[in-house]
Symmetry: C2
Subunit: 340 residues, 2 copies
Amino acid sequence: MARRSHPSSRGRTISDVAELAGVSLSTVSRVMNGSTTVDAALAERVREAALSLNYTASPLARSLVLGKTQTVAVVVPDLANPVFQGMLRGLSSAAARQNYHVLVADSFENLEEERVLAVEARRRCDGIVLCAPRMPDEELTALLPELAPVVLINRDPSPAKASTVSADYHSGMQQLLEHLYGLGHRRIAYLPGSAAAQSNRKRLSAISEFADGHPDVMVTELQGGVGFEDGHAAADAVAASDDTAVLAFNDLVAMGLLSALSERGVRVPEDVSITGFDDIPFARYTTPPLTTASVPIEELGRQAWERLWALLNGQAPAYNLSFGPLVITRGSSGPAPAAA
Amino acid sequence: MARRSHPSSRGRTISDVAELAGVSLSTVSRVMNGSTTVDAALAERVREAALSLNYTASPLARSLVLGKTQTVAVVVPDLANPVFQGMLRGLSSAAARQNYHVLVADSFENLEEERVLAVEARRRCDGIVLCAPRMPDEELTALLPELAPVVLINRDPSPAKASTVSADYHSGMQQLLEHLYGLGHRRIAYLPGSAAAQSNRKRLSAISEFADGHPDVMVTELQGGVGFEDGHAAADAVAASDDTAVLAFNDLVAMGLLSALSERGVRVPEDVSITGFDDIPFARYTTPPLTTASVPIEELGRQAWERLWALLNGQAPAYNLSFGPLVITRGSSGPAPAAA
DNA sequence: CTGTTAGCGCGTTCAT
DNA sequence: ATGAACGCGCTAACAG
């Protein structure tokens, strides 16, 4: 009798309900979608039937006919990075509030795959949030029409006129430099991130700008990276230099450096000051707590969702958004030590 | 002429391709799906047409007719927790390798919503990985048939016969206790997690078991929690007690405690030893580095995927898996100080 | 080997 | 207010 042996209620279709309630498919559809033009008694019968069959309309079929999936894609370069985790979290929470689902794709920094990954993810969704800091401008621009509606994170809106949400890395770095300068630091090391990343270029431009305006300070670029290990590995170079402060590309690098320095008995901030970037949740719990340029990571995700949502509803694109980081002064930065 | 004003190639259907290539829909379908029973010349024409139209079959339509979405859902209680992040990462990477997509849902520890969240997510996918440490056994058991195929993470397989992958928190805690005991600690504090979580109950049972076997040690339960702040807040109680070691529920709590203790000038491990749990990536970069019970977090995700994949392919459920944590001894634990 | 037909499960015109 | 018929885009029987 039963079409399936499963005890579960899955596989029930709209016509099962229609049959049980003794009405037509359309009536069931109307009731399920809250159409008011249905006789109250009939509607009740349908609801009961649906309930007893534990019926819910197939999202798949609805998606196909309605032309919308109630799902958005998020592509990030590295899910292991707290910044993207926070972004995803903010986005996912905001989307969920409006009954949207989130398809997540980690490109694992794989530049070649990133493009097809994004396109594939996008095809199963209504829109996409793309976080691809290292994708070349031209490639991105070419990709954009295929992805629309799309919101970019941490990319200049310049090349293509796309909706973007970003953090102002230039401003953040500038403030960090001023902070260190104010503490008397004149010899500063910078641990750069990936050369291809826009956010690194922004930091660099802030540095050279600052250096131009302050002939008395000297900023040296050391070997950097984006993770703990990179910061850890930079410790020797830092210790060997006569820099009194180091700007790490991000909090992860700063934490790795902090840890390695502590192992070597180098005191922070007495011997050397260290600053991070992003203000990930861990930053305030390091020893000493990390001075950093705070970026509203989750808010970035939320705003990306807001913009995507507007796009999905055919609204005019909102103004692009850029958050100016806030320097949070904690224990890892202090007055420059007197010259040796 | 064009049906849409969009310059994009989206909206192209299989019949557009068929028309352009001068063949029927089925032929296009066959070519796109790599059926070998198609004339080489025709196939080439179809491929060209598809390429020139930038055509790709709609995943939605395929899903509907094939009865599979190539997508799996992952439900976690808190995306901000590095443990679930790692799990998601391992899972997502493994799934991606087999061309599966991942729909992620964060329940934000909301017990009421968790159930509907899981069901809704599941309906858009082929299967689901459920990470719901606090959901009551009965509720979970009732939910299971509706979710199948499903893989559970960190749940006892006992109540329902479901596929599970987990870490052995009992064993981990036991090893941690032995580690501390070997170091001479006899008064130990435990900072518990959520009382409802199975992983907390496992730790507790390991503790009472150990206490039973070692009348000379005394384990006291203090106010705990699951995040930084909770560990941070526990510092006063820890400092006020005469315990020489503290077992934090997880690494996050341990880090919060470490940080607060350091602020108070309490030395770790000279004055008090601290252990975490999970071995999140940050654990080795704290000051001092954290002794912890290491759980192969990403591997947990990978294995969950393997099991789900087997289920999806109708294979017999694999043996359930439990990883025995490994104690990683780092700087935060040391010999018990001589009694005051 | 190819084309025609019938669904997948649903929403939505059309008539009634 | 309700039902019949069509179509969303595609795959898989079935014919030829």
